[in-house]
Every structure is written in C-alpha cells, then in structure tokens.
C-alpha cells in the first residue's frame, strides 16, 4: 500500500507541475490582454484613456515615488548635516525627478492619482526621520529595504509591459531607467554600512512588509 501511495504522489506531482505551467501561461495571456486599451468604448472608459492595468501602474508608481521623496526628506531633516548628508541629498534629487516624471504621466494618461497622498506624505516622512534617528547606518538600512522592494516592483511591471513592447515603449523606457536608479540607491545604501545596523534582518523585513502593503493599497485606491 505504501508503494501504491508513493506512485500516486509522483503522478499527482507531475500533474501539479503541468497545471502550474498552464496557469502561468494563462496569467501571462490575461496580462497581455489587459495592457491594451479597450478597442471600443465600454461603459466606463473611452478609447483615448489607458487600460486599467496601465492606470494602476502609473498610480502606484507615483505613490511610491512620492513616498520615497518624503522618506529622504525625513532622513535629510535628521542627518542633513552629517557625513552621509550629501549622499542622501543626491538620492533625494533623483527621487524628485522620478516623482515629477510620474506626475507628467498622470496628466498625459489621464490617470486617477492615489487618494492616500496625505497619508503617504506623513508615513514617508515619519519612516525617514524615524530610521535616521536610529543612526546613519539605520537610515541606510531603511533605504536598502525600500529600494529593494521598489526594484522588485519595477521588475514585475517591466515583465508585464514587455508583452507589448511597441505600445508600451514610453512607459517601459521610463520604468527601466528608474529601476536602474533605484538599484543604484540600493547598492549605495549597502556600501555605506547598512548591514551593520543592529537587528538588520528584522528592521529591513518590517520595512519591506510595510512597503509591499502600501503598494498593494495604492494599486487600487
């Protein structure tokens, strides 16, 4: 009987693998269809407006950049006059550019911005200032955590947009450039001793969880 069970497990394992591949393929096809703008006016969207996917992407990216802008502002408020000041200032300038670009895109693509702007403003500043108060290494650790979530997030979006490179050219270029900038920030953070923060693992995991939650919310609200 034991022998029979083992065969059954192997058989169902194979089926499970097939189904996962099928599901992934279906999800990819589904994503591809979603990226295209609706062909005829539906009851809700015009031909000239972007699809729900694109709208959600631009909205959440804008929310992310404005959060990042506020985080660096908080860090500068505490650590502006220390040795890491110039580095944080440099990263902050880049985030401001990113934010401005997404604000342009919101207007061009007629996207509804996130309704939680006031909340992200406060939360970002508090996170930045709070981590900076724990010391420059903790500030770097916070940067590393946030940037790693953002890089993964941008990579996911790039993968989705790649399904139609022609139609999504502008957005792809923008997100790819910004992803490279964020990766740079991440590496700079690591290079300045982020990992030497006490309780580094828990600290960064906590911040990452918060960021992922914020991303999930701003995709919709």
């Amino acid at each position: 009987m034991f022998h029979k069970n083992r065969d059954h497990c192997r058989h169902s394992g194979h089926l499970f693998h097939l189904r996962t591949v099928q599901r992934q393929h279906q999800q990819a096809m589904h994503r591809a269809m979603l990226i295209k703008a609706p062909v005829v006016p539906s009851g809700v969207r015009y031909v000239s407006r972007s699809s729900r996917e694109i709208e959600s992407m631009i909205r959440v990216n804008h929310a992310g950049e404005l959060g990042a802008d506020r985080i660096y502002a908080g860090q500068m408020a505490v650590l502006g006059r220390t040795s890491v000041g110039p580095l944080i200032q440099h990263m902050w300038e880049q985030e401001k550019e990113h934010k401005a670009k997404f604000e342009d895109l919101i207007n061009n693509y007629r996207v509804r911005p996130t309704a939680l702007v006031p909340i992200w403003n406060v939360a970002g500043f508090v996170l930045g200032a709070g981590s900076a108060l724990l010391g420059p290494k903790a500030a770097m650790a916070c940067t590393v955590a946030v940037e790693s979530v953002i890089v993964d997030h941008y990579n996911d979006q790039i993968r989705t947009l790649m399904s139609d490179q022609e139609a999504n050219k502008e957005l792809l270029q923008v997100i790819q450039k910004f992803r490279d900038d964020e990766q740079e920030h991440h590496d700079a953070g690591l290079g300045h001793g982020a990992e030497q923060t006490p309780f580094y693992k828990i600290f960064t995991e906590g911040i990452k969880l918060g960021c992922k939650a914020a991303i999930a919310i701003s995709k919709v609200v």
Partner: protein, 195 residues
C-alpha cells in the same frame, strides 16, 4: 486577437441597435420596447432586445456615454483652438461645459426622470457613478486642472455635486429655454468658487 475581433463586432452591433432605439424613447421610455423598435429599424428582429440583459438601463448608459464623449471632443477642440492670451476663466469654462452637457438631455427631458430612477437602482449604480466621474474628470481636465494630489478628488466631487443638483433642478424647470436652470447653475458655481 480573434477574441477581440468578435467582441468588437458584438459591440458594434449593440451600439447600432442602441443608437437606433434613441428616437423611440419619447414614446416608449427607456425600456425594452424602445430597444425592440430600434432593432427593427436596422434590420434585426424585435427579439434582439435579448442582447441587453439589463434592458432600459443599457440604453440610458449608452446615451450617457455618447453624450460624455461628444462633450469631451467639443471641450478638447475648444481648448486646442483657444487663443492662449484669451484663456477662459476656469469657473466660466466649467459653467459653459456643464450647460452644454445638460442641454444634450433636453430632447429627452420628458423621460429623463425615468432614466434617473433606472440609474439609481442598485445594479446600475456602479456604472452610473463611473460615468459621472468620467464626465467631471473631463470637464476639470479641459478647464485646466492638472493636480495630482488630494485636490484632484475634492474638485471632482464638488463638480459632481453641482452637476447632479443642476440636473435635478432642470427636470422640474418650466421656464423658457431652461433659463432658471442656468441661473441656478451660475449661483452654485459661485458658491464653490474655489474651483
């Protein structure tokens, strides 16, 4: 792909029937009967109303959407053709846009209360709200609003309120060319002049 093409064909047929049904609204109201009559005039059998499970609500929805599209195109042309030095003041622009949009209802004003009732039934509320949001978003955008923060929401909610109030005023206005309605609209916009 192929699925898109079939969907597109289906939508084209549906919109053709709905467009042909609008002239019958005065007589039959926003109902399946109007859709049947319309279907017959474009060569489909009267039973084609079965294509529209929500019946009259789909006709109201269609009408709302094409009015919104017309308005968007008109506003777009207006802002593109406008002389930048003579930029129309936002409040005036918005007043003009709301008046234009409400005038599109005038041919159906007799049956409009029925349309409003239909759109306030629970299954029809989400698309009705979505249409309203699209409408006020277009008006605010072409009036020059480029905000990306919370004022995006406060402006549009305020304008939606003004539009709805004026619409309700209009359906019981008996004055010549709805003069009283446009005065009402002017006063409401003055009230919310921080738009």
């Amino acid at each position: 792909g192929e699925e898109d093409n079939t969907n597109e064909k289906e939508y084209k047929i549906k919109y053709k029937i709905l467009e042909a049904s609008l002239p019958f609204v005065q007589e039959h109201g926003w109902t399946k009967n109007a859709i049947s009559e319309g279907a017959r005039t474009v060569g489909y059998p009267g039973t084609a109303h079965g294509l529209f499970p929500r019946g009259g609500a789909e006709l109201v929805q269609y009408f709302y959407v094409i009015c919104n599209q017309q308005l968007a195109q008109t506003l777009k042309k207006e802002t593109e053709a406008a002389d930048p030095s003579k930029c129309k003041e936002p409040a005036l622009f918005i007043q003009g846009a709301v008046e234009k949009r409400l005038r599109m209802i005038i041919p159906y004003i007799g049956m409009w209360p029925q349309a409003l009732v239909i759109m306030s039934l629970p299954p029809n509320v989400p698309p009705a709200l979505a249409n309203l949001l699209t409408l006020v978003d277009d008006i605010c955008y072409y009036a020059g609003d480029r905000s990306v923060d919370f004022s995006w929401y406060s402006r549009r909610v305020a304008l939606a309120g003004i539009y709805k109030m004026t619409e309700l005023y209009m359906i019981q206005d008996k004055s010549a060319d709805f003069e009283e309605t446009w005065h009402f609209l002017g006063r409401r916009i003055e009230d919310v002049s921080q738009l």
